[in-house]
Symmetry: C2
Subunit: 211 residues, 2 copies
């Protein structure tokens, strides 16, 4: 640690870090695309590596194993979602509008990578052996979205738009509806126009089926 000036060393290390991140994202991008097209089970590490233009063994330098790579892809998807939502959140003061916004972005993720979402929604599967990292990541994502939803519910009730109700319950019910909608859309060969679906979904959540 004393062999070179700390300034130079830091800069060098930072450069290395940047390069590493860049390579990592290169692999993640390829993996996300392949997973999005064909799900995660059907894509081998071999294929990801060769498509990313690196050796298979090199992939294992960046990711401990397959699950870690999948986890990183989920993380990437999530951060894109968060960024997209944050971008228009403040400019949409209406509660229902924000709900619509959130749903729209989530369904957009589905349209982006249907096969991957299909897998993600269920990779809670694989409860036995591996998959711990993946489930962990999904839990984190779920929690984060639940946080958004819960805020929405509480404000909706305060404003008298929603009827009084345990906010956790409301959050869970909305979450389940969105979850179902995502899963169904992910399985659909030709999903309907997203804006239409979002509108109908939001309406249903607010009004239900009753007369």
């Amino acid at each position: 640690m004393a062999t070179s000036p700390s300034g130079t060393e830091n800069s060098k290390d930072r450069l290395k870090g940047v390069i590493r991140d860049f390579r990592r994202e290169q692999v993640i991008d390829v993996a996300r695309q392949l997973f999005g097209e064909r799900g995660s089970i059907d894509v081998s590490m071999d294929e990801i590596a060769s498509r990313a233009g690196v050796a298979r063994s090199t992939v294992y330098v960046y990711f401990a194993n397959r699950d870690e790579l999948v986890r990183a892809c989920l993380e990437s998807l999530h951060s894109h979602l968060v960024a997209a939502v944050a971008a228009s959140w403040e400019s949409e003061p209406d509660i229902t509008g924000r709900l619509r916004l959130l749903i729209d972005e989530m369904l957009a993720r589905v349209d982006d990578a249907p096969a991957f979402i299909r897998m993600a929604l269920v990779t809670q599967e694989a409860s036995g052996r591996g998959g711990d990292a993946i489930r962990q990541e999904l839990a984190t994502i779920g929690l984060n979205i639940a946080r958004l939803l819960r805020g929405l519910c509480e404000e909706g009730m305060t404003q008298g738009i929603f009827r009084p109700m345990d906010p956790d319950l409301a959050t869970s019910l909305i979450g389940q509806q969105i979850y179902g909608a995502m899963a169904v859309r992910a399985a659909e060969p030709l999903p309907a126009e997203r804006s239409t679906t979002v509108g109908l979904l939001t309406d249903f959540i607010v009004h239900g089926l009753g007369a």
Copy 2:
């Protein structure tokens, strides 16, 4: 074909058929239980075979491959569901009551084999290579349940309980909600009392979140 009296031969063949069915169900039961506990990915054919007390190669006499076995398990689960619903359907004339009944039975299936349901809900994954048989079966099951739901929706609208709406849309929305609820429940380590959940869910479907 002329070597023995046809009567005897038929009886013998039927017996063989019965035996075959019996053995098949033996394997299916074991597989369903293991899948229910740990999902389908984590259970090897080896383990299923040895737990069922047969050789691995024998399993392949009854099922062409892993997917066929999974398909058979799904079929079994579905037929149990249908039987349970049919048993109390007629004695429940109320539309909301029937909806509650259907939801209750579906969630009961989840409680029965959470890990398997988790997988089933997403085995639309594996869109590439195999999995065709499984997806086929899931589509059939989904269609059948959608049929029930659609009838419920139409009758509800006729009776003025539900607001007028495209019945296909209503069916899809309810289906998605139930789907989400099943998936979430399947992932829950300690799901809430089923009757409570069913009540809240039904209420939400009918009334939504609005004030």
